[in-house]
Symmetry: C3
Subunit: 246 residues, 3 copies
């Protein structure tokens, strides 16, 4: 069984994060938290999200799983006013999620989770760590958009840099170490990523002021940030694109 009440803003953060990679996802509900692990259809990126029961206004659940369509959740979120609470209840007889906002109740068919994988989060040993303001990432992405469809993320003892190289122009967004919240990088590392994936991941961050990035050279990037005012956490993992020459 599952029954919960949650602020629309918290649910919106969860839906924004998950829908960045998949249209439908398996939500694992448990006594203490809800978790979602999902890999995008192209197997380029992974999300690992945890929402503590404390992020809910009310929460009651046994172990179970719910297959949820992200577009339907977005439709419901569009009905909610600022600060409004959304109530959810699993109707097990009809395998429906019953979602209520104000006077509106939607009975929503759940998605079959049989075909959904349980991705394992790989353990990576990434040598560099950067804690950067989300705004800096957004600005770096905006600056790169017209230049190339790839960006390089770089960390060094001097700071964190996002670089985009085009045919005629290049853009560098350099955050020197004294403008970072934290940096650990003994030597310079650099990996190249598809801009669209990285951009969508950063756009999914709605409230966290800072993001933690773990980086290596030609290695995946791990991106961590808080949701629900610290009562939940997201880990994104994005595969690198190997550069043909330098």
């Amino acid at each position: 069984m599952f029954e919960g009440k949650v602020k629309a803003d918290v649910l919106r953060e969860v839906v924004d994060v998950v829908s960045t990679l998949v249209d439908e996802a398996k939500f694992n509900v448990g006594k203490d938290s809800v978790t979602v692990k999902a890999v995008d259809p192209a197997h380029v990126a992974m999300v690992d999200l945890t929402l503590d029961r404390g992020a809910f206004e009310a929460y009651k659940a046994d172990e179970g799983e719910l297959g949820i369509d992200m577009d339907k959740m977005k439709e419901i979120l569009r009905l909610a006013k600022a600060g409004e609470t959304i109530a959810m209840r699993h109707d097990e007889d009809k395998n429906r999620l019953v979602v209520t906002v104000g006077n509106t109740t939607r009975r929503m068919a759940l998605v079959d989770t049989a075909g959904m994988s349980d991705p394992k989060v790989p353990s990576l040993n990434l040598p560099a760590k950067v804690v950067v303001r989300t705004d800096e990432l957004r600005q770096a992405i905006r600056a790169s958009e017209s230049i190339s469809d790839h960006i390089a993320l770089k960390a060094s003892p001097e700071g964190f840099e996002v670089v985009s190289e085009g045919d005629t122009d290049n853009v560098s967004h350099m955050v020197p170490k004294d403008l970072l919240e934290e940096i650990q990088a003994k030597e310079a590392v650099r990996s190249l990523f598809p801009l669209d994936y990285f951009s969508n991941m950063v756009k999914a961050i709605s409230s966290a002021p800072n993001v933690t990035l773990y980086l290596g050279s030609d290695y995946p990037v791990k991106m961590e940030f808080k949701i629900a005012g610290g009562k939940g956490e997201v880990k994104f993992l994005l595969a690198p694109r190997i550069e043909s020459d330098g």
Copy 2:
């Protein structure tokens, strides 16, 4: 003859209501009021609008009729700033409407009203009456949009409900009787309507906080609301869609 001055906001309400059903309409001007009666081209809906002379800043008219193109009126309304007054005058020699906003004057050819019918508003004996906040109707429509292209309007001693049934999901927006301004319904009634028509009618309500609905079972709905701060009134009539089974 016809000569009048009217606040842009009042004219905008009138144009929004009439253009919901028709592109061109016959405005009947009289000593005490302007009225418009029109049926949409598919003969599914009817509007019956009255604007008292008191809704105008200045008003002088003999009996007459003006065929007006709604798109042209919208263009003029886009020129008006908040609170601005629009002056209108019928130039009978050239059969033009001369409309002035600020320093701008548009001389607008009138539409031939010869082919425009004078629809008779049918007298209906509708057993249920509901006075509901416009916001509730808007929310019910938004919730229904992705579910189906029809909605059912229901009234019962318990309250007023808007229901939309899709293939997998359904949505109910229930306003219990204590959240309604007024309800008269001895027994339960229910009629099904095309969502697009009903939605456009509700979108045409710009200032009225409440709407009065008259309902029956498999009967048209009559929708009444005030415009121009009470100095005008709109009656919409919308035909039901008969459900094949239940």
Copy 3:
């Protein structure tokens, strides 16, 4: 050499004006000012822009010319926050413009100026002069947009008028002389212009409250306005369209 710092708002005014007529332009930098002269590809309109060194926060330049792509400058301007300063430097070795906003640096290939002409501003003897509020021009253009793709600009001892004649409707925007900042017109003059050009020129005016128009009969219009809080000036010239009859 060229090195300068300028408020984003000032650079935006310059880019908006120049990009109205051309995608790429030759910026002539000198000790005391930057100037741009350009003719649109259809040879219908000309711009002559001067920005004094005092419009910059910092400025250092020898005589030289920079071929600049307007779209790239717009992309950089989108990165700037209100009040932010943009630094520019000509990297002569690589023939690049290095533009910095906040932590973002774009190295931008310059455009070859060899093929760009140096248009001569014709000397015209235009009998009428009108100084009109920019808002009045904007309103006149909005009112004309649905009527025709041409507008007539008229000046007479009574005032300044913008007229648009359609098949069935016409629009007049008349600014009587007491609502003008200044008017000099011994007799009535009238010229017809393509609406799209005139509209784009007026849209390029972002801060000047007034515009000076020099007019004749079937003659080009000259439009002058200030940019950069008076530390720069724009002259637009637009060819008339000769009316076949009257």
